[in-house]
Structures are given as C-alpha cells and as structure tokens.
Symmetry: none
Subunit: 257 residues, 2 copies
C-alpha cells in the first residue's frame, strides 16, 4: 500500500540497508530490534503484517531512545510489496535450508551490502517472526541467506540479538575510524629522556640502599632495570609516581621513625 511508491532518490537514512521484519509478533521485540539497529546507526525498518497492527504502543515504549527508527517505519501487506524496490535481499536463517541460495556469514553479507549500497543499490535484510523464523515462501524472495555461525548444538538467538549481530557487522564494515588501532586516548607517554632520568633516579637510590649486590652482578642488574623501564609503556604520570615513591622512601629513612 504505502510501500508501492518506488523512490528515485536515496531514501531516508542514506546509503544503508533496510531491516525488514516479517510478521513480527510482540511489539516489545519490534522496539528491541529498533534499539539494536540504532546502536549501530541503522535506521530504516519495514514491517510486513505485524501481528498487533501499527502503530504499536509496546514497540514505542521499548524503543525509547531509538524512536527515530519507529517514527519512519513503513508497513506492508506482503513480503513482495516490502521488497519491491530492493535491488538485493538477504534472508536471515538459523537452520540450513533446502532452498539453494548462497549462504553467507554476517561479515561476508555486510561486505556485499556495503559494496552495493555504496553503488546506490537498495539492500534489504529480512528477519522472520520470533518463534518460527522465515518461511520458505519468504526466503524464496531473497537473493542470499545470512547464517550466523552459532553453536550447532545450541542456536538460541532472539530477534533483537539477530538484528544486533547483523547491525554490528554493518557498522564494522563501514566504520571509517573503526578503532582497530589500539589507542590510549590522549595519553602522554614518557619520552626517552624522562625514562632515562627515572632510571638514574632508581640507580641513585638503589645504590644507596645497596640493592646492586653482589658486585659481579651489579652491571647486569642495572642493565635489566634499564631495559625494563624502557620496555614498559610508561606514561608521564607513571614516571612521576615512581619518582614520588623514591623520594618518599628517602624521607622515611631520614625520619628514622
């Protein structure tokens, strides 16, 4: 009905796939799916024959901060209508199926989705009803299947969790600054000269305390200490902490209490 108007412009939400929930039952699950999506910046949702109609107050209550997803939901009378303007459609499924289709991991599927959406294509991802999953008649309308590589002895993903994993993979494939790099946000690491000065401070105090003993091992002990201080990724704050400790041990000694 409302879904038959094909859009020539990029739809609301930009170049990203559309989540299509087929015959969802509980409004809470629709809301949870919206939250799962919006965690990873997916925002286009379509519903096919939701059991309790639409709008659904339980869905809205559950979605709370992700209401922008629900505000733009489009509802359809049939899977075919919901997919009519799609260029490529994935069907998510827990079980292997008789239907001969390419089966992809979420990772591989979202790689494809990324390439297609970047080329201006419309990509849909179908999710079945909570209990039964997608029927073969719906799956038949998909170009490929997404199968999450779950434990063959225990596959218990609920609807929102399944949406979450796919959305997570979408975000992983498109994250520009995907923080793959191990970062220490804003940390000021110690410079070489600061490490060297800390080493000298250690040696001065430890010499006084007769730590480098016996004599024939003293050189290698100092070398090990120097090596350790350079190897540990100390921050400037760490350096100050150690200087402070060393000074305090001297004060303690001098107090003689």
């Amino acid at each position: 009905m409302s879904g038959t108007d094909h859009q020539s412009q990029a739809p609301w939400g930009g170049a990203q796939p559309t989540v299509v929930l087929i015959a969802p039952q509980m409004g809470e699950n629709i809301g949870s799916a919206a939250r799962a999506m919006w965690n990873f910046e997916l925002q286009r949702m379509r519903l096919v024959t939701p059991r309790d109609g639409w709008p659904n107050p339980a869905a809205v209550a559950t979605a709370s901060g992700a209401s922008r997803v629900l505000d733009h939901v489009r509802v359809f009378d049939s899977t075919a209508d919901a997919l009519a303007d799609m260029d490529y459609v994935f069907a998510t499924t827990a079980r292997s199926r008789d239907l001969t289709k390419p089966v992809m991991t979420p990772e591989r599927a979202m790689e494809h989705a990324r390439a297609m959406t970047a080329a201006g294509k419309q990509v849909g991802i179908m999710f079945g009803p909570e209990r039964a999953g997608l029927e073969n008649v719906d799956i038949a309308q998909a170009n490929a299947l997404i199968s999450v590589p779950v434990n063959p002895g225990f596959a218990s993903l609920n609807l929102a969790q399944c949406v979450l994993l796919v959305a997570y993979e979408w975000r992983r494939q498109t994250g520009e600054d995907a923080p793959e790099v191990v970062e220490m946000a804003g940390t000021e690491f110690a410079t070489q000269v600061e490490v060297e000065k800390l080493y000298e401070h250690f040696v001065q105090r430890l010499d006084t305390a007769k730590f480098f003993y016996p004599d024939h091992k003293a050189d290698s002990m100092r070398l090990n200490l120097r090596n350790m201080l350079s190897r540990l990724p100390m921050t400037q704050a760490d350096i100050q902490t150690f200087h402070g400790m060393l000074r305090q041990f001297v004060r303690w000694k001098e107090r003689g209490d």
Copy 2:
C-alpha cells in the same frame, strides 16, 4: 573462596576465555548471558557477589538449554579472587574512562584472546552490573578495555547483548579462516595474582613510608597505582625486581647507615 585453588590443568571448557560477571543483579540476566555465551561455545562463567546469591532459580530458568554454563559457574567474594589465576583480563566498558589502558574493539580483543589462550594462558573478560557498568576499582584490575563501537548518540547494549557481541567475535576469531596466531615469544608474563601481590607489597611499604598523603587523595593514589601495575605488561622477572627493590629499601632503613 572456591576460587583460590589454582589449576595446573587446562580448566573445564578448554582453551577459551572466561566470562566474569561483576555484581550481576537479575538472575534472568545471568541466564541470558549464559545463553549468549553458549551460542558461540563459550562455557566458563564466574560470578562476583551476585546480588541474589547463588544458585539462582531465575537464572537457571532463563538459561534453559545453556544450563551447562551455569552448572559450572564459580562464585567469588571479590574481583581480585575471581581474577587471581588469570594471565590477562579485559574489562568491557561503554564509556571512555580516565584510567589509562589500551582500548580495543571486540574484534581486536578476541584476536589477542585467541593468541593467548592458544599459548595456554588464562584470559578473563569482565562485565559490570546491568545498570552502572564496571566501577573504576574493578577496571583498575584489567590489562585492557573492550569498547564496542556503538553509535555515540545511542549506546544501549544490555548485559547479554554485550556478552553476545564479544562471544560472537570470539567465535569469529576461532573459525576456520581465523587470522594467524600472534607469537608470544616464550615470555612469561606476570599473572593477575602476581600483580595483585606486588600491589599489596607496594601499598604495605608505601603506607609505612607515608606515601599516600594527603588522606583525601590516598584512595585515588592507590587506585592509580593498581591501575598502572595492571596496565604495564610486566614479566615475572619484572615483578621479582620490584619486590627486591622494596625489600632492599626496608633493609636500608633498618640499617640506619
């Protein structure tokens, strides 16, 4: 209490990380976390001071098919006890923190976890209570943070979802086309319990030397020290070096020369 016996054999469940839930509240969430884990074949769970005690009928009812995870749960009185036999610990956190630690994506973190568990190391992954997340005193005991790259404007992962994403990445890293194992080059890194004991030794000596001053800063000074000791990738030899230094300062003081 039950957690103080160190295991010389690979623990139940084989070479995989251990999920450590800190102060979980609802039994249902513990059960859901167990389900999330078992979907991706993670099976070792530890609990630190679960609000409603243990065993928890609500957890068991929710876990249903994943009851094998709960059957083997170990419960601890403190985070330090739960982590005592771990070689490396991740803390999951939604917010960026003041504590200086490496921050990794789930993907990168599970790459590391895979390399370490393959080398026979024990890896823990801490998750905080449902509402508040981990406290700084717990995070201070971690070697690194895991941060899921969620929408900065909407981060609403619940406990089981957070466990699910990390477990999914674990499974992804250990699947057939997983990346090559990163070499650990035979280095004997310090275990959690060794780091904890070094911290206690530092505190004992520094207390005597009146380092933690003024009083209103003492707690945060101790927290920073604990954090630093976990963050620095110390070897067992490094730990012994520091113990030796601390003992030597005491001898120096006692000699009074």
